[in-house]
């Protein structure tokens, strides 16, 4: 049996990789992908704790997280299509109309 802390280490490393992706990349779509990495890390943590504590609650929350990730991807990609159609680039440091 693999100790629970190994799963926690893997999921926290994945979460950190996602955070770094959000911080250092310029492309908006890659930033959304990094958010997906973070959601997956949270899911792995939830399912690991749920399995080791013999409870079903964490797995149900993981299912809800998957549904929320689907909604987030749909709305985020719709926003980037609108921004791209308005001839603004897809790089986040060039989307600065609200900055003063």
């Amino acid at each position: 049996m693999i100790p629970l802390s190994y799963y926690v280490v893997v999921s926290s490393l994945l979460f950190v990789i996602g955070v770094l992706g959000v911080l250092i990349r310029r492309n908006f779509i890659i930033i959304l992908m990094s958010v997906e990495i973070m959601l997956n890390a949270a899911n792995l943590n939830l399912v690991a704790f749920s399995s080791y504590l013999d409870s079903m609650a964490g797995q149900i929350v993981a299912l809800f997280v998957i549904a929320i990730a689907a909604g987030e991807a749909a709305v985020g990609l719709a926003i980037i299509i609108v921004v791209f159609r308005g001839k603004i680039a897809t790089n986040v440091d060039q989307i600065n109309l609200l900055k003063w």
């Binding site: 490393l13 994945l14 770094l20 250092i24 992908m33 409870s55 149900i60 299912l63 990609l77 719709a78």
Partner: protein, 175 residues
């Protein structure tokens, strides 16, 4: 032990594909790295005796969400750029690593204990994981389940309204 071998394989492969997802230059390659990550996370779920979640992960994440990403990437026809990292990425990298260090410090000082439930692995295996999930989701978590349904309806309507082309003069052209 075959479980240990699979754990180390899945850990190494998922971390590698996550790094490739944020480090590769071409956005399509990043999407393929994310696909590999999602499949390996599904492997973790099977290792943890959560077969239904693994199936949902493959069908919804790798089958629907990732196809949506690749579809938009190919629709936008992005060019591979030279400066694909942020201008001040070293600055952000420093603060990200600082945050990571704090997260690990907190992890090392937190107890990994909890109150065990009554859904043991033997019980789940005896009547199947999908049935176990269904019994819990439609008894204890019925209200959150319905709220998720309303949320998804809102996301559908939001995506359609955002990407709709408005005729000039009626809604005032571009939103």
């Amino acid at each position: 032990m075959i479980q240990t071998f699979f754990f180390y394989y899945l850990a190494a492969a998922s971390l590698l594909s996550a790094v490739l997802t944020i480090a590769l230059r071409n956005p399509i390659h990043c999407g393929l790295g994310l696909l590999s990550l999602l499949f390996h996370i599904a492997g973790f779920f099977i290792l943890l005796h959560a077969e239904f979640i693994a199936a949902v992960q493959v069908i919804v994440y790798a089958g629907a969400i990732l196809v949506l990403y690749l579809f938009v990437l190919m629709l936008l026809n992005l060019k591979t750029e030279d400066h694909y990292l942020h201008r001040r990425y070293a600055y952000f990298l420093f603060f990200g690593l600082l945050m990571a260090g704090q997260a690990f410090w907190l992890l090392l000082h937190s107890p990994f204990a909890g109150v065990p439930g009554d859904t043991t692995v033997e019980k789940v295996v005896s009547f199947g994981h999908s049935r176990a999930v269904g019994m819990v989701i439609f008894n204890e978590y019925f209200l959150p389940f319905e709220i998720i349904g309303v949320f998804l309806l809102g996301a559908i309507i939001g995506a359609v309204v955002l990407t709709k082309e408005r005729p000039a003069g009626v809604g005032g052209g571009q939103p």
